[in-house]
């Protein structure tokens, strides 16, 4: 079983569209949507939820006013500016360290467990999907990502599947790190803009830091062919394989509107290129065995 994660650094370069295409093209696979902050893969995979679970993680401080004598020690120790003037807690700023609760001489601060989100195992027309929804304004998205990946792995192992296809999140921080560690290949989707290249270089730094093998797709490459060339040169110099270049086509937007993957929606140039890309990726990863 091999794990492939689709990442980008910059948002909006086409991660979910490409994940959806791979879901349609790959055989014997489970999908995992690890963009738990703003998950979108379900919008084109139309999952039928089979299991839903509450994700509990972390704690938040709560002041019992009737016990508080206003000594203010909590405020002096809190480093997250989460204790208000009246010694109640701003739950948004609280990071759940528990320092205030531990120092409170009146035992007036309780650490309450958070319900940080939900996660689901679903059926889709392409196979099982593990996905999640982080609670509004909650933290610990990295832990939820790890949980989604763990469940996807259990499904893949029990059904003897060949692939886990993971939709990653933008950025380089905790959810991204949780989604790339230990995968067989990270596919970086880059758009031909200076921001796209800048951000791809930073996320490449993260994959290198965690020793994750990388391949690249340039998406909407014809929006700026000069920058596309620059990206190709830059990655070639680094000896990183460019799997292919996908043309810009408004049909991609229309496919999303219809709730379909681009593969199902049209047999246009985008679909053809993505078929070739998937075949290439499959071959390369099988060869790496």
């Amino acid at each position: 079983m091999k794990q492939i994660v689709i990442i980008s650094g910059k948002g909006g370069t086409g991660k979910t569209v490409i994940t959806g295409a791979f879901a349609a093209l790959a055989k014997d696979k489970v999908m995992a949507d690890c963009d738990v902050d703003a998950a979108d893969l379900h919008l084109i995979l139309d999952p039928e939820i089979k299991q839903s679970h509450v994700f509990k993680s972390g704690v938040t401080a709560f002041t019992h006013k009737e016990r508080c004598d206003g000594c203010g020690v909590c405020k002096t120790v809190c480093r997250f500016e989460a204790v208000r003037e009246d010694f109640t807690i701003d739950p948004i700023s609280c990071e759940g360290c528990g320092f205030c609760s531990l120092v409170c001489p009146q035992n007036a601060i309780e650490m309450k467990a958070n319900t940080s989100g939900e996660w689901f195992i679903s059926d889709t027309r392409f196979g099982p999907l593990v996905h999640a929804r982080l609670g509004i304004a909650e933290e610990n998205s990295g832990k939820l990502v790890s949980l989604v990946r763990q469940k996807a792995k259990e499904i893949a192992e029990s059904k003897n599947y060949k692939w886990i296809i993971i939709d990653g999140s933008p950025g380089i921080g905790c959810p991204v790190i949780a989604s790339i560690t230990g995968v067989d290949c990270a596919v970086i989707v880059i758009e031909p803009t200076l921001s796209g290249l800048h951000d791809a270089k930073r996320v490449l730094g993260v994959t290198e830091h965690f020793n994750v093998p990388v391949k690249v797709i340039i998406n909407k490459y014809d929006l700026n062919c000069d920058i596309t060339e620059k990206i190709e040169r830059w990655f070639k110099d680094k000896n990183i394989k460019i799997l292919g270049k996908v043309i810009f086509d408004k049909a991609v937007v229309n496919s999303i509107v219809e709730g379909k993957t681009i593969i199902e929606y049209s047999n246009n140039q985008v679909t053809k290129t993505l078929r070739t890309i998937w075949r290439l990726l499959e071959e390369e990863l099988e060869r790496a065995n």
Binding site: K10, S141, P170, T193
Partner: protein, 282 residues
Amino acid sequence: MIISVASGKGGTGKTTIAVNLALSLSNVQLLDCDVEEPNCHIFIKPVFENKNTVFIPIPQVDSKKCDGCGRCQEFCAYNAIAVVNKEVLIFPELCHGCGSCAYFCPHGAIKETNKDIGIIEIGKSGEIQFIHGKLNIGMMMSPPVIRAVKKHINKKKTVIIDAPPGTSCPVITAINDTDFVILVTEPTPFGLNDLSLAVEVVRKLKIPFGVIINRSDLGNKKTDEYCVRENIPILMRIPFSKKIAEIYSRGDSIIETLPEYRENFQRLFENIKQGKNWLRIK
């Protein structure tokens, strides 16, 4: 006034709006709080004058004083300390820097040292004061770097904050305590789904907000219908144009190439300023 620009979904045009708004106004401070992937500098090409390192305090154990009692591990809410065979192991990337381990160690064996997790750069681009933060590669937690950028807020200026995508801690740290949030979206099912999540976040924080629909002629009408239904003001629409996509791709600003947009951004700012009270959240 502090205006933050956020989105839920990435790549909808936050940076474009933040940069062009900043370039259209006077007496402005632009803060790039997308410290994982900061991009504003590509467009406004600032000259940096100062650079600071952002640290978080992490524990360091004096093995001469430590008897391996394991109290520190009990106090750590983040599993950043493990005591194995009376030896204390520290995992700095998990540490939030709360300081409770050092405070509670019965033997005074823990002192805090600084670990650098990012940098802040301060500079200028024309009249704009520009500050951005960059999270170091391999670091998990961006909020301390975002907070460090926001320490430089100058309330005498109009402050524009470019926020990261998503709906969790980094976004909240960036938009918390701002006066108005512009949510930038695109009228696709992905854009709308993530917009509705972002709206929930902004409502939870009780900050007035409005929406800009970028590439407004692609996709469908559902985003418009959603905004009407939810009573959310649509502040601006920018139709898709290959010209704008191309301007963006090479790191130029819209208003330098298409000056008619300057007035649109100035009007946007006036509308936000005047609407400040009637846009209060239900």
